[in-house]
Assembly symmetry: C2
Homo-oligomer: 115 residues x 2
Amino acid sequence: MEALTIHEAAQTTGWSPRMLRYVERAGLVSARRSPSGYRLYGPAELQRLRTLRELLSRFDVGLAEMGFARRLRREPALRAAVDSWLAAQPRRPAHVAPGDWLRFEQDKHEKLLAA
Amino acid sequence: MEALTIHEAAQTTGWSPRMLRYVERAGLVSARRSPSGYRLYGPAELQRLRTLRELLSRFDVGLAEMGFARRLRREPALRAAVDSWLAAQPRRPAHVAPGDWLRFEQDKHEKLLAA
DNA sequence: CCAACCCTACCACGGTCGTGTCAATGTTCC
DNA sequence: GGAACATTGACACGACCGTGGTAGGGTTGG
């Protein structure tokens, strides 16, 4: 089985060994461990590390923000609350009376936060 | 027209005036301005401030994280990249051969990042 | 056995977040 | 016109983020 040590994985992915450990602690890319506790990076992890790196630099996003995105996708209640809060913001549709729109969104919030 | 000054809005929403200005600069809740430049908070803004406060404390989320969620929803390319990266993570379905699953996700990433 | 690697656990340091306070200046209202 | 508010800008400060380093101790392989 082809598996790279943390230093080798760093070389081929553009991260530093230090950052690979940090990325793992951030819950984004974990490596399996050898019997003695060494991190072992397989092709899947290497690919994930490369695309992660590309994503972060292309959009100027941080690891913490990726962590929050991950949280959004595994906590449906959080996602629903955030989504509905944000949905109530933008240019409200002109064909809905402002009062009605507001009441609609308020109700939605009450229901969601009551859960 | 019923509109509160920043101090009054603070009282009834649980924020401090300082934080109301901060929230505005974070792009989350803006107040319209009086002719002389004073912020004027209407019922809609007050409601949004209250629900925002509830959301943040209930889920232990920060303003910056809400800002990122907002970014996710208004930058489809970012959202697609983040979503697809995260989608490739969890326990991969056992009925798909690991190699195939990996290649599938890699292809998806290449297509998305090439856009 | 020894060099070269790995582990965790710390210290450091500039940057941002969340918050308060203070200063200098303009507005409202009695 | 003076008290009580508003504005922006700055300084401060503890907490966390991203990153590097170092230290003390285990593992691997020639």
